[in-house]
Structure formats: structure tokens, C-alpha cells
């Protein structure tokens, strides 16, 4: 399905018109830049043009966003039909499919934007670094002057801006899709799109400093994100949270219609798991913090401390493993059902192994941010039960910035659990027996120990909040390590799924 949809991304005639319009606007921006460069008496390079274009609020709010919202409304209505729902089997599958369609629409739009920015930068000196114009702090050059002062190379700014806009637009699409699922009325979805359009217009003009997560412009313009979130990567959290809520919303719809194709075993094992998660949080407050809480994230920090570069405390590492490897064990219990001869009958009904895989793994993957959100909320609630810290400095050394604590917990936490799930899937499926998955979990338990993973290159316990003390750079490196593992494992999983010999394993 994914292939077909991605194959279906094609350039419509209106894309040419948009490209032409973008080019003209790009040339206008280039002229403005020449004026600034002339006034400041410093040279430009290609990044001035490219990033000025990509961070231009007018282009985004008056052209890009309305085009996107309108095309989303049309696409959602076109793909929402009773036969499609019957064929896909659940609202959730429909949402995933609709989001894939949105991705196929998004890629050409982003390409047009990027191509216009790059082509209109022709003739400017090529460089991998910021130009002198960018780094000069001047009211004429506020945006680039501000962004270039964060120590991030221009190429990374470009990547982050495209990722941010892309993810935000997909998120808006999912919100509209959910609105349509809940209302099923044409007027409601267009009203919602119009409301979003005006909300972002207002947000571009005036900031909502008290609640940065309500300020839509923060999710479209990286320079606004830098002001609102520290570290800037945290800007992705609210977007991921909204995506998680959309998924939860469709799941609720599915449950209402009694059509939940996959779920983790809801019985004793899950109950025990939830109980242990709660017990760990209470333990963190009562015994590690002695009921004294300094900041809202203290309980979270202590409970999920896991390991640090210096060593580990048995209780904290145990709790960390029970929560994160425990989730992978619950996944293994579900996987066990799929490893039986029943897979012939299941795969045949799904139509292709890839579709089976996406329907099997995506709901579990979607639960990871939900799990982390629930743990975070639980830690905050339990923290409220604690009194203020008598010794405010007790944790001061550890609180190197709550932003990085949240980054480590949510971003690296998501990647780490996804790694666990994929390891269990790949090993379990290749071997054909769930016990192999359990041995993999045992190995990961050992690999997480600081003595084994001193270089932090093995995908185990890297989401420990104990590593926050190593600083932001190290956490970003951990993100890179986990991302590489996730991609490699996903590739491995897809290879398994695509090969009938491996997919049906010894059951052939």
C-alpha cells in the first residue's frame, strides 16, 4: 500500500503554476537580500537566500498553509467512503492511509519550495557555513542573525525547518481527518480548516508567550521555535503529542464500532505492567526523593534515571528495564500469536506481507509516545503529592535543564522503545520462536549496563535520564545512534517481510 501511494505522488499542472509563483517570490526575496548586503557592506552566500526563503512567514502563511489545508480537505473527502472503510477494516487504518496520501501530496510541495529557494540562490557563492551577512546582528537581518547564533550549521537548519513544517502539516492533516471522522459533514471540515488558517495568521503576527504550544507559528518557523523551546528539538513534542491524540481519537472511534484489529493483551500482564509502572513512580517519590520535590520533573528524573556514564543503581536500573523492556515483552506476547501457522490465514486476508506488517507494527509504535506521555503525566501527578524540597540543592547538579530531561525522556525514549520492539520482531521472526525474542531482551538488559555500553553505541538503556548529565551534544549523539539502529532494524524487518522465505520462516 505504502509503495502504491508513494508511487502515486505526481506533479499536477497546478504544481507548475506554484513553482512559477515561488520562483517570482524567491527573486523578490533575493532582491531584498542584495539591498541588505549592500547596506551592511558584507557578502552573501547561498544560505542567505535559501534559508531566508524557507523561513519566510509570508510565503508559509499566505501561500503554503492555505494550499495545504484546502488540498487536505479535498483529499480527506475523496478518500473517505464506506467501501474504503470496509476494505481497510478500521478507522485507524483509514487514518494511516489518508496520512500516507498526505505525505504523497507533501513531498512535491516541499520539493517545489526547496527547488525555488535553491534555484533563486544561483550565482551566490557556495558554502557549507553561514555568510558574513547572516552572522551580523542587524535589524535588517533579524531572522538569519538570530538563527545563525545557535551554533547549528545552515544545512541542519534547513533539514530541521523542512522536518518541522512537514511534520506540522501532516499533523494538521490528521487533525482535519479526525474532525471529518467525528463529524462526517463537509461544512465542519472546511470550517475547521478555515479556523486553523486564521489561527496561524494571528499566531504569525502576535506571539503567545505564556503557552508556546498554542502558538502555531512556533511549528512553522524555526527561528520562532528557538525562542519558544530550549533545546529546539522539543518543538517536535507538541506535534507528536497531537498526532498521538489523533491516533487515540480514531482508536476510540474504532472501539465504539467494535473494530479493533490488534491490541496488546489486555488481561493480567497489562494490569501487572501498569501496576509496576505506578509502583516505580511512587518509589521514586517516597524513597529516592523522601517526599520532597523541587521541580515538576524531579519524580520523572529519578524514576527513569536508569544508568549513567559513571554507573548504575540496581533499583533504578531494574525499574527502567521493567518499564521499557517490559513494554517490549508485552509486544512479544502479541508477536507470539503471529508466529504460529495462523499467519497463512492472516497474511492472505491482509493481501500482502507489507500491509500486514504496517498494520501490525504501527499501532504498537503509536502506543510508544502514548506510554511516555502517560508516564510523564503519572510522574507529574505523583510529584504533586510530594512536598517542596527542604534541600533545594539536592538535585541541583542533576537538573541540567529540564528541557534536555524532556528531550531525553520523549525523543530518545521513543526511539529506544522502537528499537526494542524492532529487535524483538527481527530476532523473534527470523528464529520463528518467541523465546529468541526473550533472549534478545536478556541481552539488551545486559547491554544497557554502563560497563558494557561505555561508548553508548549499543541500543540499550540509552534513554536513561542518567545520561542527561553528559550534556545536550551527547544526547543528540544518542538520538543519532538510536535513529541509525531504528532505520537499520526497520530495513531488516522489511527485508524479512518482503522475502516469502523469511516471512513464512520454517512454516513454509
Amino acid at each position: 500500500m505504502t509503495h502504491r501511494i508513494v508511487r502515486s505522488l505526481n506533479f499536477a499542472p497546478w504544481h507548475v503554476a506554484l513553482l512559477a509563483l515561488s520562483m517570482v517570490y524567491g527573486l523578490y526575496l533575493r532582491q531584498q537580500l542584495q539591498v541588505i548586503s549592500h547596506e551592511l557592506m558584507v557578502p552573501l552566500n547561498m544560505w542567505d537566500q535559501i534559508l531566508t526563503f524557507l523561513l519566510d512567514p509570508y510565503y508559509i502563511s499566505y501561500l503554503f498553509v492555505p494550499i495545504w489545508l484546502y488540498s487536505s480537505c479535498v483529499s480527506i473527502q475523496r478518500h473517505f467512503s464506506v467501501p474504503a472503510l470496509i476494505r481497510l477494516g478500521s478507522y485507524r487504518s483509514w487514518l494511516y492511509r489518508s496520512t500516507l496520501h498526505a505525505l504523497a501530496r507533501l513531498i512535491p510541495l516541499l520539493l517545489i519550495w526547496l527547488v525555488s529557494a535553491t534555484v533563486t540562490a544561483a550565482g551566490l557563492p557556495l558554502s557549507i557555513d553561514w555568510s558574513a551577512t547572516s552572522t551580523v546582528g542587524n535589524p535588517l537581518n533579524q531572522v538569519l542573525g538570530f538563527v545563525s547564533n545557535h551554533g547549528i550549521p545552515p544545512l541542519l537548519v534547513l533539514a530541521l525547518q523542512l522536518m518541522l513544517v512537514g511534520l506540522t502539516l501532516l499533523c494538521l492533516h490528521m487533525v482535519l481527518a479526525l474532525v471529518h471522522l467525528l463529524s462526517s459533514k463537509q461544512v465542519v471540515i472546511y470550517a475547521a480548516a478555515a479556523a486553523l488558517f486564521f489561527a496561524q495568521l494571528i499566531s504569525f503576527r502576535s506571539r503567545i508567550e505564556a503557552a508556546p504550544f498554542l502558538d502555531l507559528a512556533n511549528f512553522f518557523l524555526l527561528h520562532r521555535s528557538f525562542t519558544a523551546y530550549d533545546p529546539v528539538a522539543l518543538v517536535f513534542l507538541p506535534v507528536i503529542a497531537v498526532i498521538g491524540l489523533c491516533v487515540a481519537g480514531v482508536q476510540y472511534q474504532d472501539r465504539r464500532h467494535r473494530s479493533t484489529p490488534l491490541r496488546l493483551p489486555g488481561s493480567l500482564s497489562t494490569l501487572l505492567y501498569v501496576g509496576l509502572c505506578a509502583l516505580g513512580l511512587i518509589y521514586a517519590l517516597a524513597f529516592e526523593l523522601r517526599n520532597e520535590v523541587g521541580t515538576p520533573t524531579d519524580v520523572l528524573f529519578v524514576a527513569f534515571y536508569g544508568v549513567s556514564a559513571e554507573g548504575f543503581e540496581w533499583n533504578l536500573y531494574l525499574y527502567h528495564s521493567i518499564v521499557f523492556l517490559g513494554f517490549a515483552y508485552l509486544f512479544l506476547l502479541v508477536l507470539e500469536n503471529e508466529l504460529k501457522a495462523r499467519i497463512y490465514y492472516v497474511a492472505l486476508r491482509h493481501g500482502s506481507p507489507t500491509r500486514w506488517f504496517s498494520r501490525f507494527i504501527l499501532p504498537v509504535a503509536a502506543r510508544v509516545p502514548l506510554l511516555l506521555g502517560a508516564l510523564f503525566a503519572g510522574a507529574l501527578l505523583i510529584g504533586l503529592a510530594g512536598g517542596p524540597s527542604a534541600d533545594g540543592n539536592a538535585l541541583a547538579d542533576l537538573r541540567l535543564g529540564q528541557g534536555w530531561v524532556l528531550y531525553q525522556f520523549f525523543i530518545n525514549g521513543t526511539l529506544q522503545v522502537l528499537c526494542y520492539i524492532l529487535v524483538v520482531f527481527v530476532i523473534g521472526w527470523l528464529n520463528g520462536r518467541p523465546m529468541a525474542g526473550l533472549f534478545a531482551l536478556g541481552c539488551l538488559l545486559v547491554a544497557g549496563l554502563p560497563a558494557v555500553n561505555s561508548a553508548r553505541v549499543l541500543p540499550a538503556a540509552l534513554n536513561s535520564l542518567g545520561y542527561v548529565g553528559l550534556g545536550g551534544q551527547e544526547l543528540l549523539r544518542i538520538t543519532a545512534v538510536l535513529s541509525v539502529y531504528c532505520l537499520a532494524l526497520l530495513l531488516g524487518a522489511l527485508l524479512i517481510v518482503k522475502s516469502p522465505k523469511l516471512f513464512f520462516n520454517e512454516r513454509v
Binding site: M1, H3, R4, I86, R87, L88, G89, S90, S259, T260, P261, N337, K340, A341, R342, I343, Y344, Y345, V346, A347, L348, R349, H350, G351, S352, P353, T354, R355, P500, K501, F504, R507, V508
Partner: protein
């Protein structure tokens, strides 16, 4: 157009050749019987047709009605391959519900009707792990027929069934043919072949020969 067409199919496993240059055509509205000794490759043939394994050479062509571009496995096929597949801790009805939810074209009523048509009681609380061999076979048959597929591939569907159930299933398969659907089944019982099959194929010396 034929529902299923096999052209020059060759398939070996670890040096043992099962099929060599096999050709066969299966048309709609007919019942085909396949016979062959144990280990001759009857199940492999069904897996090849379904796309669960790929031939070393040759092509399996499925009528496009049942094989849209985005599918690896055919649509609207009901199959029993190798052995019944089930979740042992669940009841028969729950097992079938799980499978039915994937395509979501039938509801509880259709599942119950299908169970009754092969002689299974839908509301029994017995977990499948406690089913007899015959009951497991009936469960496998139910999952194959419950979505009213256009093509049935049944590997030894009469295995472990009592005399009454055999009669039930025979009638069921005959009714499928009358509705213009295609049935391909394997059996070691000559009577099944004589009574049901319009055409009989025999797997012999790595080839598929039409004998009737």
C-alpha cells in the same frame, strides 16, 4: 480467462525437486481434485498459487479480478494449507472473529452461519486447544468459507471428519461449483474424487498430469 494458470513452474527445496516445468489451468465454476503421494508437493502447490512461496522459475497467473496491483496474495480466496492455524487459548468463534476483522466484510451472523454449515456449535466456550482433531479441521474449513470466497484451495479438507461431516462438506463444495465458483482440493480418498471432482490432476515424477 482462467482463474489460475501455472506456466512452466519449477520448484526445488534443498536439492529435492518437487516440480519441473509444470503447466496447469484452473477455470471458474469447476471442482479440481489433486492427488499425489505423501510429500509429493500438494501443499507446496497451494502455497505457490497463493504466493506464500515463489517458484524457482515459471509464472503463476491469477485472474486480475482476484489480484489487484497492490496485493501479493490473491483476494477472495479461501484456503486451508498444511494444517489448521488458530490461537489455542481462544474459542473457535473468537478465532474466526479475529480473522474476519481483517477484511471486515462479514459480521458475527455470517461467522455463526458458516460454523453451523460445517457442524460446529458457535457458542461453545471450549478453547480451541481442547478441540478434537476433527473440530479443528472444521474450524479450518469455516475460516476458509466464511467470507464466501470465489476460489477455494483446500488441502485435505476431509481429514479427520466423521461420515456426516464429510457429507456436509461434500454438499457444500458442490454448492460452490453450482454458484460458479472454483474449488481445488487434495484428497487421498478416491470416493471424494469420483463424487466431486470435474477434473483430477495427479502429481507424479515432478509434474502435474491431468488424469480425468
Amino acid at each position: 480467462m482462467a482463474v489460475i494458470q501455472l506456466e512452466k513452474i519449477t520448484k526445488s527445496f534443498k536439492g529435492t525437486t518437487l516440480f519441473e516445468n509444470v503447466n496447469a489451468t484452473f477455470d471458474a465454476g469447476k471442482i479440481y481434485g489433486i492427488v499425489g503421494h505423501n510429500g509429493s508437493g500438494k501443499s507446496v502447490l497451494f502455497k505457490l498459487i497463493c504466493g506464500f512461496i515463489v517458484p524457482d522459475s515459471g509464472t503463476v497467473t491469477i485472474d486480475p479480478t482476484y489480484m489487484s496491483k497492490n496485493r501479493t496474495f490473491p483476494e477472495n480466496f479461501g484456503v486451508i494449507i498444511d494444517r489448521p492455524g488458530y490461537l489455542p487459548q481462544k474459542t473457535g468463534l473468537d478465532n474466526l472473529r479475529d480473522l474476519a476483522r481483517i477484511r471486515a466484510v462479514i459480521g458475527d451472523d455470517e461467522i455463526r452461519t458458516a460454523m453451523k454449515s460445517v457442524g460446529l456449535a458457535p457458542d461453545t466456550k471450549q478453547a480451541v486447544r481442547n478441540y478434537s482433531l476433527g473440530m479443528k479441521q472444521k474450524l479450518a474449513l469455516t475460516q476458509a468459507i466464511m467470507e464466501e470466497p470465489q476460489v477455494l484451495l483446500l488441502d485435505e479438507p476431509f481429514n479427520a471428519l466423521d461420515v456426516d461431516s464429510v457429507e456436509l462438506v461434500r454438499n457444500l463444495l458442490a454448492s460452490y461449483r453450482d454458484k460458479g465458483r472454483t474449488v481445488i482440493f487434495t484428497s487421498h480418498n478416491r470416493e471424494d474424487m469420483d463424487l466431486l471432482a470435474d477434473h483430477v490432476f495427479r502429481i507424479r515424477a515432478n509434474s502435474l498430469e491431468q488424469t480425468a
